[in-house]
């Protein structure tokens, strides 16, 4: 048996001298490549035009008669392309660009949302009915993902409270549970997502009734893109993005705190409340700052994502480090 000891074999034994002398060139090549890479990035940073036309969004259709709603930020919205091509929708894959790619054929018509539970008038709403429940408002909201990136989106919808009032919650109503559509035939990547599906989210009833909470049917003058939660979702702008459940099929008013998907997946990292809070870090990263898509430097994260005037009173006397 050949049991050669490695020390006897040095590089000079197997490497012709001219080749290993080339290492200097090799290292210089690496340095050159690094400088080139850095230069390219720096160049792009300054030359960054709002890139690329919006991707094909053939399924979205124009919404007319939209009025300007309250609470809009005057910050500059992100491009439709950024918002539709960088997001999480785990039913369509766990990569940020997966939803744009895999949700194209998502069938969202016909569609109905069942509103039930602790209500006197449970009811199923067709999409056509939902569109007519209230005037459609444009609300330009900041949207802060738990992963420390953020966007500004002109959503279109109306207050969630309109829908909830219609079904008349009973005196036992304390929370609202949201369930997203899930069909593995339409969402074959769902089983690989590592979270339990259908996606479940929840709010306290008073949170759901807050005028900021938006039942959302559109964005950027159009109906919602499939990958952003078509045809109807909620947007809860003072909470981390995952609280804003997409593609809703069921809204259930309940008497106790409902189980929610990310909280079940990892309770230490994703609390039921999940209010945007720069003072409570995610165990694995800081929540003090965020990267607004399209910006180079990070910006400070605002308490309640800057919506404290509207929602801080909901949490009076609560220890938000405990109820994160």
């Amino acid at each position: 048996m050949l049991t050669r000891k490695a020390p006897e074999l040095t590089y000079s034994d197997v490497t012709p001298k001219d080749v290993y002398l080339n290492r200097r060139k090799f290292l210089m090549g690496i340095a050159g490549a690094a400088v080139t890479g850095a230069a390219v990035i720096a160049y792009k940073k300054f030359a960054r035009a709002v890139s690329l036309p919006a991707g094909p969004n053939t399924l979205a259709s124009k919404l007319t008669g939209v009025i300007q709603g309250p609470y809009s930020t005057d910050e500059k919205p992100n491009t439709l392309n950024d918002v539709t091509h960088y997001n999480n929708f785990y039913e369509f894959g766990t990569g940020k660009e997966d939803p744009a790619q895999n949700a194209q054929k998502f069938v969202t018509s016909p569609w109905a949302v069942s509103v039930e539970g602790e209500v006197s008038k449970p009811r199923k709403f067709s999409m056509a009915e939902i569109m007519k429940l209230a005037p459609l408002e444009q609300r330009i909201y900041r949207h802060r993902c738990v992963e420390a990136w953020s966007i500004v989106v002109p959503w279109i919808g109306f207050p969630l409270s309109v829908l909830i009032n219609l079904v008349q919650p009973t005196s036992r109503a304390k929370y609202v549970a949201f369930e997203s559509y899930y069909d593995v035939r339409q969402m074959p990547l769902g089983p690989d997502a590592g979270i339990s599906l259908p996606y479940a989210e929840g709010l306290r009833l008073d949170e759901a009734m807050n005028p900021l909470a938006l039942l959302t049917v559109g964005m950027y003058d159009q109906t919602l893109a499939n990958q952003d939660g078509a045809p109807v979702r909620i947007v809860v702008p003072w909470k981390y993005g995952f609280k804003s459940a997409k593609s809703l099929v069921k809204i259930k008013v309940v008497d106790s705190q409902p189980a929610t998907t990310w909280n079940e997946a990892n309770a230490q990292e994703y609390g039921f409340y999940s209010n945007v809070n720069p003072n409570v870090d995610h165990p694995r990263w800081s929540q003090a700052t965020e990267r607004r898509l399209g910006e180079f430097r990070k910006r400070s994260t605002l308490m309640f994502n800057g919506y404290g005037d509207q929602v801080a009173s909901l949490y009076n006397g609560m220890d938000l480090k405990k109820y994160y």
Partner: protein
């Protein structure tokens, strides 16, 4: 033998070098064409991290490949591949401290202490530094082959820590870090097997050298 000739040709080394730069070139290309997603810094961080682990795995595969095929010339590429792993680790680390933390050293130090995925990732990177520094023929000579080799076994630790770093980072979809874990695990098992067999051999328990297994007591 043609394979040997190809492997010892200096052009093969040039080609491997060029291939090693492709991931970086691809990042540059995507940047110029606006294809780094809406969050380029995150994309670059992930891509360079991915390629660090991939080059570590490729580097760790050289010795098994060489032994299984009994073509020693494969080792000519090991140093370059290892240095590419270090190169992408440097880019990954630089992206993190520069573009993510903007050189805020106290923030970075807090991260390293507080966030275990950063702690292990940082350790994996730091352990690669002495290996890169002693990658020269001169260093091998100065250290002596045995000590050099012992030192360079740190790459096993780096690879394992790198995979743990990735596993702890993802939110729920652990498939990719698990794939890497399998690969690193197999490559380390190969060495363990080689070591056990080699130990048996050197204690004189076997005599049949003509049917020697394609492994030797040498590790690497």
């Amino acid at each position: 033998m043609t394979l040997t000739r190809v492997l010892t040709s200096k052009w093969t080394k040039v080609a491997v070098f060029a291939i090693g730069l492709l991931p970086l070139a691809s990042l540059g290309w995507k940047e110029l064409h606006g294809e780094l997603t809406a969050n380029p810094i995150e994309f670059i961080t992930h891509a360079t991290g991915d390629w660090t682990i991939r080059f570590l795995i490729i580097t760790l595969a050289i010795t098994p490949l060489r032994k299984i095929t009994r073509v020693p010339q494969f080792i000519r590429f090991r140093r370059m591949l290892g240095l590419f792993a270090f190169f992408y680790a440097c880019l990954h680390f630089t992206t993190y401290i520069g573009l993510d933390k903007f050189f805020n050293l106290s923030e970075i130090w807090k991260d390293v202490q507080k966030r275990r995925f950063i702690t292990v990732g940082f350790a994996a990177f730091v352990l690669m530094i002495p290996l890169a520094l002693t990658s020269t023929a001169g260093a091998i000579r100065r250290l002596g082959g045995k000590r050099w080799q012992a030192l360079h076994r740190l790459v096993y630790v780096s690879a394992v820590l790198g995979v743990i770093h990735y596993y702890w980072l993802v939110k729920s979809d652990v498939r990719k870090p698990l794939q890497y874990a399998w690969m690193v695990g197999l490559l380390l098992l190969f060495r363990l097997g080689a070591w056990i067999i080699g130990r048996g051999k050197s204690s004189g328990s076997t005599s049949n050298s003509s049917t020697a297994l394609p492994v030797t007591a040498e590790s690497g």
